[in-house]
Subunit: 356 residues, 5 copies
């Protein structure tokens, strides 16, 4: 939960707005890419410093600056200066275990979301990282913890120039990115759904203490998703209700659409939680069932053999005067008694439905 490296606790005593990276540090270099486009033209380039983005920002059309990797706090300081961002916003960008939120700062809007990605190993935990968006009048800044394929389809869309994306403003581009993030939740949920189904099968066939641990593990993954999606829902709803002039009227329905998807993600998460709770009940009652079965075997064996051993014990006594011992058919008689006893027991057990 709380990683040993830079944590919130390590920031105690620093003034607010201090740029210290909080969260896991991912070691790649910071990368900056810039898009500038309108309906007619598109320029795409990698830039070396945030300052290089400023002249483009002032050109007509929409400017999209994407920053991958947060380890260079100098980049963020430059970003704050170039785009006039509040120090607390920069701090929120670096604090990569921030919960999703939306904030309207007048000149620009700030959105924090969490991206979930599937692990490379099929049994590994779901990986999550933070993405921050700053929506300005004609520009959009996105910050990711590390470069990834998440935004590639949007870049493709921009290059292809089809659909609404090149005809609309920075707010529509922001929507497209938020939509991509939420779509990613469906991918992760589908994978978790498959794990749950596999677990359900193994629960029916052969429950072990490992099954319990696997249920608890999945529960934790689901809970961690849940803790990201509920505030995301609030944040998108706040975008939807916002009366900021940075959001054009026609974009509202698109944010409403992302909101609907978030609700659907929440519904699926709640369904999974219910399923896992039901699996716990099945697991616990299957423990009881197995105990019942073991106990029945023990009881059947003891009930069968204890009386027989007693009978044998009787005729192992060494009394001088035990007339049965002298009888010609005594031994055979004992066997008859034994077999009758066994038969009576079996009838009793069958009546109790203890025999399979």
């Amino acid at each position: 939960m709380l990683s040993p490296q830079p944590t919130r606790a390590g920031k105690v005593g620093l003034p607010p707005g201090s740029l210290v990276h909080v969260g896991r540090r991912l070691t790649e270099k910071t990368g900056l890419t810039l898009f500038n486009y309108d309906e007619q033209h598109l320029e795409e380039r990698t830039i070396a410093a945030v300052g290089d983005a400023v002249p483009r920002r002032d050109r007509p059309g929409v400017t999209w600056l994407n920053i991958d990797g947060l380890q260079d706090t100098g980049v963020l300081a430059a970003l704050g200066e170039a785009f006039g961002l509040h120090p607390l916003i920069l701090e929120d960008m670096l604090n990569t275990d921030h919960r999703p939120k939306f904030e309207d700062l007048g000149d620009y809007l700030f959105i924090v979301m969490r991206v979930f990605t599937l692990p490379v190993h099929p049994k590994g935990g779901v990986h999550s990282e933070q993405i921050s968006l700053v929506i300005g009048p004609h520009f959009l800044i996105t910050l990711q913890e590390k470069a990834g394929p998440l935004l590639d389809p949007i870049r493709e869309g921009l290059r292809a120039g089809k659909g609404r994306i090149r005809k609309t403003g920075a707010d529509y581009l922001a929507h497209a990115i938020m939509d991509a993030v939420v779509d990613q939740y469906f991918v992760v949920l589908e994978a978790l759904g498959e794990r749950i189904e596999a677990l359900e099968d193994s629960l029916v066939n052969r429950p072990t203490p490992d099954t319990l641990r696997a249920i608890q593990g999945l529960k934790r993954e689901i809970t961690s998703l849940r803790r990201s999606v509920w505030p995301l829902r609030e944040a998108i709803s706040a975008v939807d209700r916002s009366d900021s002039t940075l959001l054009h009227e026609g974009t509202g329905i698109y944010f409403k659409d992302v909101y609907d998807h978030t609700i659907q993600v929440i519904d699926t998460i709640e369904t999974f939680r219910d399923q896992l709770a039901g699996m716990l009940d099945i697991y616990l009652s299957s423990l009881s069932n197995r105990m019942n079965e073991v106990m029945k075997v023990l009881t059947i064996i003891a009930t069968l053999f204890m009386p027989l051993t007693f009978i044998a014990g009787i005729y192992g006594m060494n009394f001088k005067y035990m007339p049965e011992l002298e009888w010609r058919w005594g031994y055979l008689g004992v066997w008859v008694v034994i077999l009758l006893t066994v038969a009576a027991m079996l009838v009793y057990f069958r009546r109790k439905r203890w025999l399979p």
Copy 2:
């Protein structure tokens, strides 16, 4: 939950408003039927293309276009063009695992609902599909995943021309369809109620691990209904509160009536959930009870025969000087001791109320 075929996860990377069918694909051909009516006349016909509906839409009276089957995305594209629907609305129609909702788009209203139908096999799961409604000034569009008997009574009512239906607008027709959908919930709930009762009987008579699985299965059906009805309630309440001019004043009370029915559905669902939770408690405690019974049998047997076997063992010892062995009535005496012991045990067990 998440079907292997086209799922939400498969849409990752596509721009919003892309018409891709999400959900189970049902293989029938798309069918289009058109009603045009007012108080005096009624026209009913099957049309080949959405475009054929446009001239009727502009005629006086109410025009109802019903579309069965969503596999032909071309039909939807044509629909969007002919009636001026937003691409996201078309996307919502195709995304057939959408949660119920109501949206006011100014020129038209959009409603999504889920229809539940009973399975053909008495033990099968409840089947659910999506129905979408677009309410325009003088027209209504309905989309179903596949043709079914759900709307037949409404068609009959239109043909018969009795009651309010022919005298009122598209909003009343929409209400009639929503009412039919909600009435269908009562049918499904009644069937589930019967299953719960049957399960309750088998729980009392002979609980097995299968009972538990059946309880969990019913719980899941109920939960899935629940996840559809709660947002439906919100949606209908939003219709009720809406100040859209597309809804006439006199129709409000009818939507309020559907709302009441939805609340009643929710009440029944919550009652069923309580009942199933109570059944789980009974199941678990009946496991404990059975264990108790098994243990009592074991304890009675062991407590009866262990002392007896010990007594027999004593007189099976081979000591040279064991005076009892020589006694004339020794053997008989042992039997007397044994019978007295048994009698004492039985009195003890009866006092403990362990004997039936």
Copy 3:
């Protein structure tokens, strides 16, 4: 829950406002009684048809029409026509498993409540039926599923002419009836409270699987009361907040009083629910306790006699060279060992606090 006779599901396909009786049909004939009163005079009569009430309605003073029994839908149709009631209101009156509600229809107010009555047999289930009220400017209509003594005290009060009832309008009369219905809840709750107490005693003295079933049964009764009282609270609160001119200013405090009583009913219900939940915990832990006791007896017996049987078994061996067998005091020695072993065991058990 869902009775086999006319249910909601049986209405599928009928247009809204169709007058079909939904719920248990009670076989008595429909009875109509009419009161017309003001401070000076009182007229009371049984009438044959709803139409006979109309001339009285237009006379000065308050007119109260009470209808017992709903099986004659013709009466309801006539009622609708005579008093100008909306078809959906008539439908709600017939749909006798309706949840409590309040509706303001401008010209009149409509209230649905549930009346609970104690069973004739002391172990039977609580019986519930529906009562509907229509409050008009100078008239009140009440509908009950069957005639009963519920409203007799109010009739007595009217005849006696004491207190406020003859000096005030139809709204105060409606309040008096609602108050009588809520008072009835206290009667039922008191009886259920006695059953809970009796159950608690039997739980302490001798819990059986029947106790569990009785707890679950009471839980279901309480839940069914609860599902009626919560919406009733909402409905009365809506009456209280209503700004309808049909409710006089001075009556507000009386509705507030009924509201307070409803809250008190809810409080008692929640207390009972808590008590029943606590009883379930006690029941389950008492199962565990009894198992513990049984196991202790088994363990004590086995631990006492297994070593002894082993000792006896040793000296039952037939080895040629077993010096102890020849000893003069061997047999006595074995008995000494046995008694010492038993004494040691008893000390051990007492230290473990396993002996009573």
Copy 4:
């Protein structure tokens, strides 16, 4: 819960506002005391009839009429007449199991609270009674079920004439009384907290079925407190938000202070509930632990002695040709085998960590 004497159910059929005492009847005589004070003077006397209070009420300064004991409904009727109180208010005063509430009746304010007092016997249940307050422009009426020391410190304060109390109006006096009532909750909670701690100790040392019953008993006490404090919080919050001219501006902060104390009472109650729930978990798991321990003893004994008894049994057989029996060291050899078996078992048990 519901006492056998006059209960709500016994009032069925009476018109609202009928003065019947509901709740336990406490047998002392009704006592009336009157205070009339302002900054300069203070008059304190016992009066015989409510009517004697009227001339004082109209004198300058604040008049406080305290009534102890409710059995004489004539006193209440006189009170209603003298001070112009609504019959329903008088009914609420007599209905002594009323939940706390605040009502603004324009000319006066009405507040109902519950006072909790510790039992005389250290194990007895917490006792609760009702106190009602009527705040008028220059007077305050308080009604208690029976005389008690609760208000003595306030009387002392009035006599001493220090602090704000003599300089302020009837609303401040009402606040002082409400504060005294809420302070009393802390006394009761402290006593319950000590009982919980004592129970926790006995839970750790030696859990018995009585412990469970004690937990349930405390839970019930806490729940009953809770049911009084939550509505009290609402009531005081309503006082705080009230815009009645009977409450002076400067008194607001004092009611806010009482509100804060009520919240603190609620916090403590919730903490106790959590603690009791945790104790239930510990109790149930300690039952399982004890069962485990008993089972281990049984298993160890059986596992040790069953193989040994079998070995002894083998050499107790009477076969003619059993070479071991003839061996010189056979008997000793058997003992060696037995001791080796025991040693192996003990190693096995220690590896399983079953031995202490």
Copy 5:
């Protein structure tokens, strides 16, 4: 919970606003330190009496008076007089188990928070104390129960004179202190997180009743944190929404930032609660698992040896005519039967998967 020394219950009967210290009394002497600063200059001194602070308060710049230790109620009385604080505010400062709150008193704002600190011993309980803030137009008063290092970084920041702190008003200083308090929560949560992880390991390896008690202990710590953070969230949110002129416009975003941190604290707390609940489930099911294992051993042993002992018992009988006893290979035959029985049992157990 409720300490034996001065508690709320001990204040019963005192008028509101009485200055009595409620809570643990910490024995150090009261210490007063004073800061007076603006962008250019900074004065820092220890003062002997509250009165000494008054002349500084009226100087330009911001005056910060910090009071450590509350045992001298005279200091508080002087404080109230010097700064015009309401007696109830002074009482809240002394009542050191107050829940966090924010109050706007017009001339000044009052904030109560709880500071959590780690124990000196690694297994000790988390320690909590109260800090109160009074924000005036140009001054800030802080009160702590005892001197501690919490505010040292802020003092350092003031001395260093970097950042915003010297350029802004008393509200920003108050924010910095609140931020420091909330940062402290992260430190405590990190330590608790480590304890939870350690507990989780021991749960997997070797669960004991102590583990359960440790889980319950951690739960209680988390709950106590939770009860402080939820009202803190409300309080900070109230600061954020406040329209007091004592809060400058630019400070709003800083309070919003503290609010975000509080939400993050709450998220972590809820995660821990979920984890602890999951651990309880694992613990209880591991008890069942261990019982199952013990029972299997017992059943295997009994099932193996009971039939064998019976066989041996048969041939220990002393019947005169037992032909097997005379057979040459009888003894060997019995051994063959025994070994076959054992083999059959082992196959059976392996099929049941009871053998490891």
